[in-house]
Symmetry: C5
Subunit: 321 residues, 5 copies
Amino acid sequence: MVTVFVHRDGKTEQVKSIDRAWLNPAAGAILWVDLAKPSIPESLILSDSFHFHPLSVEDAMSSLQYPKIEAYDGYLYIVLHGIEINAPAHCFSTHDIDFFLGPNYLVTVHDGDSRSVTELRDHAPRNIKICSEGPVALFYRIVDSMIDHYRPEVEKLEDQLDQLEEAIFDNPKPALAREILDKKREVASLRRIILPQRDVIGRLARRDFVDITTEMSFRFRDVYDHLVRIADDALIFQDRITGMLDAHLSNTSNRLNEVMKVLTIVSTIFMPLTLLSGAFGMNVPLPRFPGSDAAQFWWLTAISVAVIVVMLAFFRRKRWL
Amino acid sequence: MVTVFVHRDGKTEQVKSIDRAWLNPAAGAILWVDLAKPSIPESLILSDSFHFHPLSVEDAMSSLQYPKIEAYDGYLYIVLHGIEINAPAHCFSTHDIDFFLGPNYLVTVHDGDSRSVTELRDHAPRNIKICSEGPVALFYRIVDSMIDHYRPEVEKLEDQLDQLEEAIFDNPKPALAREILDKKREVASLRRIILPQRDVIGRLARRDFVDITTEMSFRFRDVYDHLVRIADDALIFQDRITGMLDAHLSNTSNRLNEVMKVLTIVSTIFMPLTLLSGAFGMNVPLPRFPGSDAAQFWWLTAISVAVIVVMLAFFRRKRWL
Amino acid sequence: MVTVFVHRDGKTEQVKSIDRAWLNPAAGAILWVDLAKPSIPESLILSDSFHFHPLSVEDAMSSLQYPKIEAYDGYLYIVLHGIEINAPAHCFSTHDIDFFLGPNYLVTVHDGDSRSVTELRDHAPRNIKICSEGPVALFYRIVDSMIDHYRPEVEKLEDQLDQLEEAIFDNPKPALAREILDKKREVASLRRIILPQRDVIGRLARRDFVDITTEMSFRFRDVYDHLVRIADDALIFQDRITGMLDAHLSNTSNRLNEVMKVLTIVSTIFMPLTLLSGAFGMNVPLPRFPGSDAAQFWWLTAISVAVIVVMLAFFRRKRWL
Amino acid sequence: MVTVFVHRDGKTEQVKSIDRAWLNPAAGAILWVDLAKPSIPESLILSDSFHFHPLSVEDAMSSLQYPKIEAYDGYLYIVLHGIEINAPAHCFSTHDIDFFLGPNYLVTVHDGDSRSVTELRDHAPRNIKICSEGPVALFYRIVDSMIDHYRPEVEKLEDQLDQLEEAIFDNPKPALAREILDKKREVASLRRIILPQRDVIGRLARRDFVDITTEMSFRFRDVYDHLVRIADDALIFQDRITGMLDAHLSNTSNRLNEVMKVLTIVSTIFMPLTLLSGAFGMNVPLPRFPGSDAAQFWWLTAISVAVIVVMLAFFRRKRWL
Amino acid sequence: MVTVFVHRDGKTEQVKSIDRAWLNPAAGAILWVDLAKPSIPESLILSDSFHFHPLSVEDAMSSLQYPKIEAYDGYLYIVLHGIEINAPAHCFSTHDIDFFLGPNYLVTVHDGDSRSVTELRDHAPRNIKICSEGPVALFYRIVDSMIDHYRPEVEKLEDQLDQLEEAIFDNPKPALAREILDKKREVASLRRIILPQRDVIGRLARRDFVDITTEMSFRFRDVYDHLVRIADDALIFQDRITGMLDAHLSNTSNRLNEVMKVLTIVSTIFMPLTLLSGAFGMNVPLPRFPGSDAAQFWWLTAISVAVIVVMLAFFRRKRWL
């Protein structure tokens, strides 16, 4: 779906098609063209009306671009990632949005699910400020809203890590290894998206490209700041996950220790007693304990109890009990 | 709570409100405005009187800023972290303090618990030097005091690590894994606060911003030095914690070895003896040892003792005993 | 085999030998010389006709060059790696292709199996555009096709990693350790080829060498982008393999835990019962349970069942069952 | 203790106090002032005579400075670390020496135990060259001697690592874990001292500060070289210690394997035999082996021997024996 | 042994001593002075005839220099490492060669065993090209030959790693841990020698020093390329060794698992059977199985076989068999 807004003479209107004259910056018109899940014919506007470089058009139409910023003759081509709202609740996922930022126009290309773009598009006809401030400010509005959507996702991820950590210490199970490694991959993919995104915005904030005003660079610096924070959080998450893996491994070893202690204590107590009972079952006359026939049994019981007591004392001194 | 000090004509007075004229550096007035846990109306002073950029005002009012320094038109916006004195005794915690440093004014924004600021604020009316040396010197005084409060916290952390290390070697328990990982996170959060803080002060010491005198750059270099030292300590702590995890893992393995040795020694001694007693309990006539019926038992005892002696010698040669 | 194409006066012809005059850029001829598995006499063309530096000729004739770009007087010498199609299906392998890129000629040297070069060579006589756009565009066409062949290999590798990961969690076997380490080496060799290749193309995209037009730099930037993506994938693969090793180690420990639990449970249940049976086999009169002779056996059975129940309850509370 | 040397008119004399006139470089006097464990009144010379910046004086009087170089107005303030000779024999320890290097003077501040300084101080009255070459040469002499004292300490550390390594492979004990970790910390502290020291000298060798002659920069480059070598050794030591930890862990696992093999072999041999003896002790008539009553026993013995032989063959095939 | 070659008027002659006039570049003479294991008097030539800086002479006479390049007034002092041919066959070892490279002379200092230097020295009187091309070309010839000797050593190391890897997977033994760690140290020492060597040659190739012609820089770039390859190989070797350590650890764990499975299976089968036999040996009348006295035994056998079958099925389902 193609939506075209043109801001001229203090008014923003939605129009059907683009007038060539508007593309001339001297004409004083500001254009916003949004392509939501464009069909092939719809996408022709990129090459036919705007004469964008074929390589940038190809990138915009493909769906697996990492965040980047590229200067072409007369415009900047920018790819950023927004949070995927349709993703399953337990995992972190993004989709790319492409921007063509020219002197007096902004073209946005996305798969139709971008909240940041659609909200702004719905408000554009009524809110005159959206388009009147120029394409860089419009681009900033979209980016700012996109990055704001990251925060709740990062917090969700943090909650999941908290729960996982709790589980590792309170209810250790072998299956946690897989969950830890799944989270590790999720955090790695968060970092992989955030770091280039941060660099893109950082270059805008540092005004590597001449067409950014001081005011805009302040705003991009603010967005940059948010991205630095998220990248930092991702690094902390990685550290925590490494710690969880260590804790999980340590748990496994400790559980093995516990199992072996039980086995050793039981064996060490019962083996001497079993020998004793075996010895008194031999067809060989054994020396008698003093006392009657019945007393023999109590002697044996006393010896057994003594063996048990000695063993338990030994284990206690070793701090196994 | 808003506190305003103005230094004019060699005197420092606390005043109720800000006179617009003072903001002109040419007027020769030096201003210190402190906002402790400002209410929304109180915070309006930032935008209405000082006309600070909305983004910096927003950052100052939010509470989760990492240390940073940002140049705006006519002033520097700086975030630093002070030690949280109300934190629970066993953990390390900080709160952020925001500074607006202009040519002839300093505005401080904090949550009301900053010792460094409140102490200075209490002395300002009496000690004329505090405000008369200009806003940079005033800023330096606060920062120097904030960083001085770090040292005891770092030493407390070091003591806790010493104790933990002692415990690992002298009284190993599975539960130590969690304590080690908790300390690891605490040290990581110390580094995360210290490193950007160090960079902020380092930029001031290197005079990246023109309004720092040589004398002030010497002083900031001194503070920078302290921060480098603390960052260095944090790195050492990390190394030590890695060592502790290794030691803890090695302990766990050694304890397992010990448990298994006990089991193996006991089993290896008792199994042959149990077989012997079982053999002599069979309903099958066994060859007799030379001697009387009673001697049979002593023969068996002798064989058992021989088995035990051989086993113990074997274990000693293997250095298990 | 030596193939020579010359583009003059709007026509591309395949010729037998090189006319010295064509080498002068002013002559307006564009040359493409392809050496597929050249014999020693064939390779003399490099030094005799083109007067390439002996060191670059030597490198071109040797077969173990890593990707690199080197400026010599009047030409660039470039080594890139293409995917080896004859390699065994389960492993990743490449072969090097050498390029001599001059002002009006391109010389390609390879071992005869390069799909990218041979396809283009077969089309050159018919497709006039291939040679007419100049040697840099020709070089770009070959490189673009080479890099396109990487994508399916990377996806194959990803599939193999997916399968391996599945196997680790669903069907853990000691032999997986070797498979994981084999994949680790394969991924390392992918990175080792991709990283210098990326740097070579990156230098062309950044126009470190003056003879690249803006349009060509856009195209090389596009190839560079693909290589960055592959390098990024390789890094992710490495991360995943590290995770697999961790999971494999954790699996091994968990299996050991399981084995030991079985042993401990069995021993802990049977040892007391064996002692009981041994005790009642002694030649020593034991106190009788109340009831008849036959009831004695049922008393013993009851005690045994009680022991088993107590043990199972104990193990359940320890969460071993 | 304060010692003052002044070199004037080709003579070096030890004097009681400093003449203000000497401090003027134009006067042609060269001064060396050494403060060994200075008392508070003695330290006043730094601020009163030399007017050093209060921050550098404060640093010089404190005892926990890391190596650094700082330019102040008219002089360099340098902190370096010398080997502590009073340290316990088994560990590596340093103390800091502070230098104030001016155009015609050198002030050294230390805790009185610096061999490098005291030796030179004792020779200064007799050896005219010591002071006559100027303060930079004098500083170089002290530094060169300090760094020379590092070599034997590094070699001692290397010997200790050799012994530890030998012990790990020849006489593995759990207690080695602690020794390895102690050495790890010692090596880490060596690196922490050497790296900033190397950077300080490197800056002098690169002539970052204008008052170093070419000849002096050659000499500092030589000292720098020694420090690079020591830093390199420290890195090797770290690698070796990591290897030792791995070896220690591997040893622990191997010992566990050995223990478990003994247990398994013993159990696997005796359990069937014990069952056999138990079976023939049952109150249930068993089928008789052919032959006489006495032959029964030999049949059982033969079966037992067969069981043992089969088991041993099985273990040998598994390479457990 | 000192050997002096002088190239004048198109002829190379070996002479006994150096004529001062030759040292003047304007005289048109090219000098090569080789000091093989020089005695103290022989080494005086360095300071007396060439007036080299004492620090560089001292370095040249000492034997533990790492590769480096240093510019002195009028000459470059270079240290490189050649392969030690007298080293024991199973380990990698080098010796240092020192070069003084002046405008018209080259001085080489080595311990007498350098193949690269001695071969060239033996050919110098006959092969006029060796000296006539000037000292830089002569230096290049030696360096090229030195680096060529590295290749076979690196391949030998690779073969040893292949064998070690094979052994780890096919014939795992605890003693392999030591071999792996020994190889790790060897590879680390290879890297430690190669990296600075690569940097030295890289600086020559980049013409950091003005007296290198374009042609020479091409040649040094070629040598640099070889060194980059070797450094790269060393890095791969390190990766492989890390993988071997992981595999070795995994092997140890797997063997332990195997041992414990055998123990558990044997115990789990024999313990119930031993209890059964014990129960039927009790002095307590047990309920009879239906059938004759002789049938009792076959009932017991049947029960035992059933127990074994059930156990084996259980272990098979757990994939332990």
